[in-house]
Each structure stands twice: as structure tokens, then as C-alpha cells.
Symmetry: C2
Subunit: 463 residues, 2 copies
């Protein structure tokens, strides 16, 4: 693509952009810093300027200008990416859409909601709850809907409700040249031409800047209950999870945490779960249905040596448990002050899950780095979480070798280097290894057709 | 695109193609005829030759040759399209993949199956059943999996199990220049680069020829049961269906048939359902769960004046009922010997469904053409089925006006001209009206990037 070296804006370019957004352009150092990092361990990179957009029209004008001037543009929400998505690797502007945070329309009758891209997940759910609705995609972080759309986010509830791919019905996207495009319809089924919605979802800001999204939402289940179960070994837990999926029982969440992850969340959240390989479940449905589902799951876990099956339909307990799970990432970091975490994101066919986890554990154990393993096992998706010292850049190189070794093993099993986090800046080689050059060449052709100057998030997904 | 007039093959071109596929090229008139029509009412168009492919390699060689020679290529399975997808509007070859009908691998542990594109839906389900599995997408016709992938098929079970979009995990696609590309992975989650799988699914043969597909499959439910319920008016039935969806009860199918549709299937299938607006349901789950679900549904239907709620868990009865539903299209034609049917395919947000059906009924009643209405109401998707005399081409023009009027009303409500059948040859203008020129221009850019000579299924989706 066209942009090959860092672009810094001239004063006249800054002035021109400023005129397009009523002066909302900043080159303040702390603002540049806060837009130059995310939750990944990649070294921070400052944008040349931060532009705060308040409308689709402003985004359109800014993009048209940047396209003409060949200025790189990276959209920014809250910076919760784990893969360096929002890092302005080639300078240019960070286009902050976090103040585009209006919930535009809740349609309880259609089970849809239309939002601006800067709306955050938790605020949305708070608002939806008064209509008895909830938005199901839950990656843990309180990300913006725009960011979740661009990265194709999923999370703990995907096993039941799907990822962003299934839950984005329609979106407004601004193309590199400023063209505003609406794709998708607010219908449950659509067969009208190419699926541009699914092309934009998960394109990591390289094809368009998403400014408005219509999401599918669900009625809050009559009853929700959680359960915990411990296993002797990681493999027993994983095998139990696979058997549960095969049984067809309707789980709403099914997460695995290894003993180290449990230790971390115990310390971080002040709880006292047994430090053993653990499965965490959630069930949604009618009171009787939830109870039946939990019973089936308990029976299956006991076949795999699961013990201490604890079940709670008490709301406070349930929330506390899942909050702890969501904090696992930060709990891992908190256990190692001053360190950062690197998260892998493998997904494999279910039949390969136990092998994949075992191989990963073996490689990590041999490495000597502190690590933990957890994940969305019912989807065949798991994360290893490796602790690194940002003051020692050699470690990063070493960890890169280890994760590459794990990833190659996963790909050879028919798996993927990323089930939900995306390619970002760090998995470009893995994508090529996994998808093959014919597929990546087609991705590049599409990129070139939609963004001929290559201004949108350069340096991500492919070179 | 490049191809603007009919292409007929020279003898040397036929010989060259013949050499690529061990002589499996035909210009026999009856073979040309059978590849020049589908289930739509479009006038038949013969291809110049029919090429029978037996492998991905052969498809690759044939496409490379046709691309170099600028010969149009339309892939052909069984010709069950309702939108003229397989009509070779610009001549060239019909590339028949129906003999690529091997089920390559059933993986019960992964709940996946890998098939060649010519495998038919019913044969696949027969084979899967011995492993206790089933493939859920059910458009009625016994289509090939390749055709269903290319049109992004859905059907009666989509409300519960999704469409092809959600159930194709991975596919092998041959591009216009013969490049063989594997896209997707056999994992439940994937976030690695652009979603090329969803781009190919539903692209109606205009971007690639699909030769192999890995599908997600499901365990056959422990219990399946069906129910029927009658309503005083079409609107009451539709409102009941909407209320059922909102209640969150897990229906596996929920179909609406108007009195005319019931009359047609009664005559066609020799059954004796009451000739009234009717909802047909199917429930999948545990014996107790199925009973509970049916009870909730019965309560809701009675709130909307539903009467004679009949429920059956008897397998033969259930199959007979759904077979009748599936035969509704042919039953409609059988009721008018010598005539053909034109099916519309509107989908709207649920809150607009009753209005959309009412508007359609009003327009059709005024037209004087025989018609019936039925559809997948829980998805907001319904079909009007209009009877036309193929010997009177003026009728087609008149019906085109009527369907255009209905479609414009649907689009104005936020709906789509096609929930599941696709654009094909007849809805090109509606796509533009619905999606807007910015979106359609992007589709064309993608088409041009992937098929610069425009050889793949020219004349479909856009001009």
C-alpha cells in the first residue's frame, strides 16, 4: 500500500483539520500519549494529532481531507484492543469517536438498537435493561460498539448468542475518500447482494470508519444462574466442556480457568475459589429450564472427574463470579506489578482442543515465563496469558518465538491464530501461514479497491 | 463489466475445454435446455455448452481457460434457484458440478461435515443421520450445498439454527483466473483478516465457483414435535408469530400460510387442513422442554384468537405436515396447470411485518392475479406467490410492476427486497433502490477486483 513511512502533520494540515471539526484537534502530549497505546504489550506510538469527531459528516470530511493529503487515519474508541489495533504505526491522525456516544433508537418490538460508534457496551446495557433487553456480546472490556464492530468482537456469551458478526444488522461506514455508505438492513434476514456488513465487521479499521451501528438485542432471560466445577487436570476440564457442547445442552457461557488464573482472580477480587482447573458456567432460561440444564451439566462434569459442583441462582453471587472472570486479564497483570501481559487467542476444532491446550501448556512450561491459561472452551477458543517485563525488550522477542511455535502447532491442527482478538499488528505472518497467500492476496485486492491510498490503519492485518 | 453480449463457443474452444475435463462437454440440445432454466419464471436461456467438472482442479483449469478466452461461466447444481441465478444470460458455459457429490468427512466430535459442492441436501442429511447429526438449513428444494452456499440459502429452520451465512465454516473457492483459494477455518470462531467466507456466501456465483464446503451440523434433537394453529385473519396470525418471537421461546420453525396456501397443499398432498390463516410450528429439545415450549406457544396464540391448536409428537404426522409446507410452491403451481409461479421474498423488521403483509395483500388483491402468501414469519420474511401464464408475456410485465410496487413499499419500511432468495436477474433495480449507489458501487469494485473480465455469472446482482 501507499504509506511506507511515518507521516507527521504540518501546521497548515492541522489548521485545515481543525476547521473541519470546530477546533477539536489536539497535539497535547498527554492526549497523543493516551491515543498511542492500547491494552497490548506493543510499544506505544504517538499519532501526529488527535481529531475528535462528533458526527458521521465530520468523519466524512476528515477522511476526504486525509485521503487527499495521504494522511494515515486510525479510529479510536477507548483503546481496549489487545492486538495493537489503535496504534498509529505510521503517525497521521487518531480519529477519536468516543464522544459520538448517543443511543439513537431502542426498538423493543424489533429487538434492535441503533447507536453511534462511541457508545460503550456497559452504558448500552444499562440503558437497555429498562426495556428488559440486553446486548449479548461481552468481551470483558468496556469497549465501544464501534471498536467491537471493527474488531468483530466476541467473548464469553458467544457460544449462545454469537459474536458481532451475527449481531450487527446494519452499519454506517465512511470510506477512505469520505463516501458515506449504509450497509445491511434492520431485518433478521438479508440476501441482497454482497455481504458488505460482514466485510466491514472485523476489518480492523482498514476498510472504513464505522460511525453508526444497528445491533440485535435479546430479552433479559427470566432466570440466570451460574455454576462452578473443579477438575483434577486441565485436560479433564477441557474434555468435560467438549462433552457438554456435544450434548446440545443450552449453556449461555462456559469458561475454563487454570489454577494460576484462579489464584490471580482470588487475589485481585478478594474471593476464595479453590485453586484448581475450573469450569465456570452460566445458564439462561426459564427457572425450570435453567435448573434442568445445570443438572445435565453437573452429570457430564462428574463423568470427567469434576467435583464440588456449586450452583447459584443468587444474583449477587453470579455477578461476583463473572466479574472475577472478566478481571482475569488485569488480575494476571496485578499479580506481577510493573509487568505487562501478552495474550494468545488460538481457536481449534473442538476435537483438537485438549491437544491444543496441552501443547500450549508444554511449550509455556518449558519457557520459564509466568503464564496462565483460560478461555471460551465451548467455542474451542482459549487464551494463554504470558507475563513480560516491558523494561526488558529481549523478552518480547523471546515470547514472540514461543507464541509463534504455539501458533504454528495450532494452525497445523486446523486451528486459527485468532478466534476473537484479530490480527492487528502482531499476527501478520501468522495470517499468511494460516490463510495462505491466495486468500491474503484477495484481502489486499479488496483493501486496494476500497482504500487505494492505504490511509486507513496502515500496518495492520497485512503488509 | 467486460461481457456485454452473448458468447457462443467455437468448435476449437469446445475441443480445448473437452481436453481439460476428459471429454465431459456437451452441446446436446436437451442438456443445454436442462441447464438453461431454473424454478423461476424467467424465460429459459441456453448455454453454449455444458461442462461437467469432477474436481476442484478441473474447475480451476476450466476457469483459467474461460478467463483467458473471456467465456462466461455459470456454475450449475440442480437448477432449483427461484431468481434465475443459473441462467446463462450471456451464453458461454454452464459449469455443472452436480457430479462432485462426495461427502468427504463427517466429524461428529467437531459437529462439522466437509462435502463437495454437488452434494445434495437430502442425501447429506440421510448420511448424517447415522451419526445422530443433521444439517439444519432447509430451503425446501433438494438443492446442492454448493448452490445453497452461493445463494446464501436459508429457510424454515433459520429462526433457530441460522442460514448458510452462519453454517458455512470454510470453503474452497476457485476464482475467475483459476486460482484455488481456501477461506475460513473449521473452527467455531475466527477473527483472522477479512471475512472472505461471508463475502463468497451469497455472492451468487459472481465472485468464485465454490467446490468444497465445511458445514456446521447439529445433533438430532432428542424430541421433535409439530403444532398447527388457525386464526381469523392473516394479521392475527402474524401478530401471534411476532409475540412468540418476542417471548424468547425456542421455536425451531414458525411458518405462516394463508387460506389459499392451505387449500393448495391440501389438494396437492391429499391432506385436509382447515382452510384458514395458519401458523405451523416445530419444537426441538428434550421431551419435557418441547412440551413446555408448545404450551407457551399455545397460550400466546390464544391471546391472538388462535383456535384449534393441534400438537403432534408423532413422527409420521410431523413429517407429513412439513412435507406439505415444503410442497407449497409446487402445490401453488399444480393448482393452476400450465402456469408458473413468481415468488417475492420480502423481509422487514418484526414490528413492520403485519403492515408489510397487509400492504402486499392489498396490492395483490387489486391486481386480479391468483396469489397466496406464506413465509418464515418469525424471521420477518414472507413470500407472496403470484400465478402467471407463461404463454402471455404481457402478464410478466404487469406482475413486474406489481412486485415493484410492493418492493418499494417494503424498502420504505426499512425492509429488503430479498430475505433469502437473492438478487439474481430480476431484482437488480431493487437492490440499487434498497442499498443505495454507494454500496452497489463498492460491490462492483469488489467484483472488478476479483473478476476483472467479468466472466463469472454476468448479468446477476448488478449491471
Amino acid at each position: 500500500m501507499a504509506i511506507t513511512s511515518r507521516v507527521d502533520l504540518s501546521q497548515s494540515q492541522i489548521d485545515a483539520l481543525s476547521a473541519l471539526v470546530s477546533g477539536r484537534v489536539s497535539v497535547n502530549e498527554s492526549v497523543l500519549d493516551s491515543h498511542g497505546r492500547d491494552e497490548s504489550a506493543f510499544p506505544p506510538v504517538r499519532p501526529s494529532a488527535v481529531v475528535m469527531a462528533h458526527s458521521t459528516e465530520e468523519v466524512s470530511k476528515v477522511l476526504a481531507y486525509c485521503n487527499a493529503e495521504k494522511i494515515p487515519v486510525v479510529a479510536f474508541g477507548v483503546g481496549s484492543s489487545l492486538e495493537g489495533h489503535v496504534l498509529p504505526l505510521f503517525g497521521g491522525i487518531s480519529l477519536d469517536i468516543s464522544e459520538m456516544d448517543k443511543i439513537l433508537q431502542i426498538s423493543p418490538d424489533d429487538l434492535t438498537v441503533r447507536v453511534q460508534a462511541g457508545v460503550k457496551r456497559m452504558a448500552l446495557n444499562k440503558k437497555l435493561s429498562s426495556d428488559g433487553l440486553f446486548f449479548s456480546v461481552d468481551p470483558g472490556a468496556d469497549a465501544t460498539i464501534g471498536g467491537m464492530t471493527s474488531t468483530g468482537a466476541s467473548g464469553t456469551t458467544t457460544v449462545r448468542y454469537g459474536s458481532m458478526r451475527e449481531n450487527v444488522l446494519k452499519l454506517t461506514a465512511v470510506l477512505a475518500d469520505g463516501t458515506v455508505m449504509e450497509v445491511g438492513r434492520e431485518t433478521r434476514k438479508l440476501s441482497a447482494g454482497y455481504d458488505l456488513t460482514r466485510l466491514i465487521v472485523g476489518s480492523e479499521g482498514t476498510l472504513a470508519v464505522v460511525t453508526e451501528i444497528t445491533l440485535r438485542v435479546f430479552g433479559i432471560p427470566e432466570k440466570m444462574a451460574a455454576a462452578v466445577c473443579r477438575f483434577k487436570s486441565l485436560e479433564d476440564g477441557v474434555q468435560a466442556a467438549i462433552a457438554i457442547v456435544r450434548s446440545g445442552v443450552a449453556i449461555a457461557r462456559c469458561e475454563f480457568l487454570d489454577a494460576q488464573s484462579i489464584k490471580n482472580v482470588n487475589a485481585h477480587d478478594g474471593i476464595s475459589l479453590q485453586e484448581a482447573p475450573t469450569l465456570l458456567f452460566e445458564f439462561h432460561g426459564s427457572p425450570r429450564g435453567v435448573e434442568e440444564d445445570a443438572q445435565v451439566v453437573q452429570e457430564i462434569t462428574s463423568e470427567f472427574g469434576g467435583t464440588d459442583f456449586e450452583w447459584t441462582a443468587e444474583e449477587g453471587e453470579r455477578r461476583k463470579l463473572w466479574q472475577a472472570r472478566h478481571n482475569a486479564y488485569w488480575a494476571g497483570i496485578a499479580a506481577h506489578p510493573g509487568k505487562r501481559g501478552i495474550s494468545t487467542d488460538a481457536a481449534v476444532p473442538l476435537s483438537k482442543l485438549a491437544d491444543a491446550v496441552a501443547v500450549s501448556e508444554k511449550i509455556l512450561s518449558a519457557s520459564g515465563f509466568p503464564f496462565s491459561i483460560l478461555g471460551h472452551v465451548a467455542d474451542g477458543n482459549f487464551h494463554t496469558f504470558i507475563i513480560t517485563d516491558p523494561k526488558n525488550p529481549n523478552e518480547l522477542e523471546e515470547i514472540r518465538k514461543i507464541t509463534h511455535e504455539m501458533t504454528s502447532a495450532i494452525i497445523a491442527m486446523g486451528g486459527t491464530c485468532t478466534g476473537e482478538h484479530g490480527i492487528g499488528a502482531g499476527k501478520i505472518d501468522s495470517l499468511l501461514e494460516e490463510a495462505g497467500s491466495a486468500s491474503v492476496d484477495i484481502m489486499k485486492l479488496i483493501k486496494k479497491a476500497l482504500d487505494p491510498n492505504g490511509i486507513l490503519n496502515p500496518g495492520k492485518i497485512f503488509h
